[in-house]
């Protein structure tokens, strides 16, 4: 069994606000093969993302596999609206980092 880090398979791994109350995560692949491999592996799922970020699964409002863009996308509810005092990431732009090291079974 071979494991590969997600950052070696994906072209883009990013996070950004989706409105004032949510952060959305995009994992985009250059080729169908890598996309299908990650889909098949189950490394990215509602359950896996809830565990990675230590949040209740109910906070994940969307989890979709988007074939036209070879992309996997999920969206979470923020703990408080963006820009409230204490919010460390107004744009939600640096929340993707833990995804880089997710291990994917590639064989």
């Amino acid at each position: 069994m071979t494991k590969t880090r997600l950052s070696e398979l994906a072209k883009t791994i990013r996070s950004k606000n989706a409105g004032t109350d949510k952060i959305t995560f995009d994992i985009i692949f250059r080729e169908r093969e890598a996309y299908e491999t990650v889909k098949r592996s189950g490394a990215l799922s509602r359950d896996a993302m809830a565990r990675l970020y230590g949040i209740d699964e109910a906070r994940i409002t969307d989890f979709v596999e988007y074939d036209p863009a070879y992309a996997i996308k999920f969206t979470i509810l923020r703990r408080r609206p963006s820009g409230s005092p204490g919010d460390p990431d107004i744009f939600g732009a640096q929340q993707y980092a833990p995804l880089l090291d997710v291990e994917v079974e590639t064989a």
Partner: protein, 453 residues
């Protein structure tokens, strides 16, 4: 008209200046409209609440000047949405005045300027709730109640295509809009020329962030969208960028909860069955989009409410024992603040960089802090004097934190400066809701004048 072309030079006009080279290439491609949105709720609640801008005026003027001169040079309308970051009334007035001043400075021939407002009076919202029409929460928020409304300082309604269509069809050459759906300004142009809703809204969706739908990554470059009754094509204007199947399809999901549906006032754009095709080196064609009109029109409301005045302090930690016990040091500082000000009526917020400062409780590595930490302290209170003292107590008392086994007894933290700094007041987003309206134009009063006459 068989097709219509629109160029967009900037996804958030003013936030950073547009790049002139690709914009001029776009102008040379003879578009029928030049359009850009100037707003975003990414910037947090402070600009809307305090009725300010997140962008420097010089950058806003730069882009408005480039677009106005190009629009008058080739004789096509120019449309700007969400004036001045928030689209509040004062920001619309500011952009309208910038247009008048630019026209005078450049001695432009007379043109028709149109604008509309989108601020909503709190009492109008209160009356709507009282009438039995709930103001419904989005994104898991509860319906709006009077307490939350009372806590709100300013509300803007997010316009769909309707006020833009009215001003375009009124013959306006330059349009400045209040808060708007990004896609509406482009869709309105296409709808006013008779193109179908599905293609028109998709055109808006793909153009709204300018070159974010192109690759390689590079913001603030112009893209050109073209619409027919059957398809939308998008072309990168920058010599080094292309609109590819991957970049255009990927953009469909940018800043959205899901890539399939885009809700606007009046309906929903369905992108589930979109097909993407590379038809030229720099151009991708999209087909298969659908639009489902809504039975009733609900308009999105954004609102911000003030929490208090705010000061900020910072403290560094290098002692590994103190790093391991940083939460106790913070609790000591909070306790000193409670002793001084009581349990309520103020707030302290701590972000511990080097441990979980960026991600908070979502940080998987928060039990493995680095060898040094920076604590950012925010004090929020009703007056500036009190906010300064709260922030100062919350910061300086870290220095005096009583940790039982600490070796360094001459001061528990490092200071880059031994002061706290005034910050913008603390605000929060109070409204992310929708409100039913009878007439999609009713929240958006419109005005026109001839400039340069």
């Amino acid at each position: 008209m068989d097709s219509l072309k629109i160029i967009c030079p900037n996804g958030h006009l003013g936030f950073a200046p547009l790049k002139v080279e690709s914009f001029r290439l776009g102008v040379a491609a003879k578009p029928d409209f030049i359009a850009a949105d100037s707003g975003s709720d990414d910037i947090g609640p402070v600009p809307l609440g305090s009725d300010g801008c997140a962008s420097p005026k010089a950058w806003q003027e730069h882009d408005l000047e480039q677009m106005l001169l190009a629009s008058r040079e080739i004789g096509v309308p120019m449309i700007i949405g969400s004036a001045g970051d928030t689209g509040s009334d004062s920001r619309v007035d500011m952009y309208v005045q910038i247009i008048r001043d630019l026209a005078a400075r450049h001695g432009l021939a007379p043109f028709k300027l149109g604008w509309f407002y989108s601020e909503v009076d709190k009492e109008a919202v209160r009356a709507k709730i009282a009438s039995g029409s709930p103001v419904q929460g989005l994104d898991a928020r509860a319906d709006l109640d009077e307490g939350e409304l009372d806590a709100t300082d300013r509300i803007v309604a997010v316009a769909g295509v309707h006020p833009y269509r009215a001003l375009i069809e009124d013959g306006c050459d330059v349009i400045i809009g209040g808060r708007s759906s990004d896609s509406a300004i482009f869709a309105a142009a296409a709808l006013s020329r008779g193109f179908p809703e599905a293609q028109a809204y998709y055109l808006g969706k793909v153009l709204e962030c300018a070159s974010f739908c192109a690759e390689p990554y590079g913001a603030k470059e112009t893209v050109l969208g073209e619409i027919t009754r059957d398809w939308v094509e998008v072309t990168a204007m920058h010599p080094g960028q292309r609109c590819t199947v991957a970049s255009v399809a990927g953009h469909a999901m940018y800043e959205r909860s899901n890539p399939f549906h885009e809700y606007v006032a009046g309906g929903v754009l369905d992108m589930t069955d979109c097909r993407y095709e590379q038809v030229a080196e720099k151009t991708t064609r999209v087909t298969g989009m659908r639009f489902a009109p809504a039975d009733d029109v609900r308009v999105k409301l954004e609102g911000a409410g003030k929490l208090g005045e705010r000061f900020v302090g910072m403290a560094g930690i290098r002692d590994p024992y103190t790093i391991a016990h940083v939460d106790e040091a913070i609790e000591w500082a909070r306790e000193q603040t409670r002793e001084r000000f009581g349990e309520t009526g103020w707030a302290l917020h701590y972000n511990v960089f080097g441990r979980d400062g960026v991600m908070g409780e979502m940080e998987p590595l928060r039990d493995r802090p680095g060898h040094e930490l920076l604590i950012v302290v925010q004090g929020v209170a009703p007056t500036r004097e009190m906010a300064e003292e709260v922030a100062m107590t919350g910061t300086r008392q870290l220095f005096y934190a009583r940790l039982p086994d600490v070796k360094g007894t001459a001061g528990g933290v490092s200071f880059v400066f031994d002061e706290v700094l005034p910050a913008s007041p603390g605000y929060r987003w109070t409204l992310n809701h929708t409100m039913a309206v009878d007439d999609p134009l009713e929240l958006f009063p419109r005005h026109t004048e001839t400039v340069g006459a």
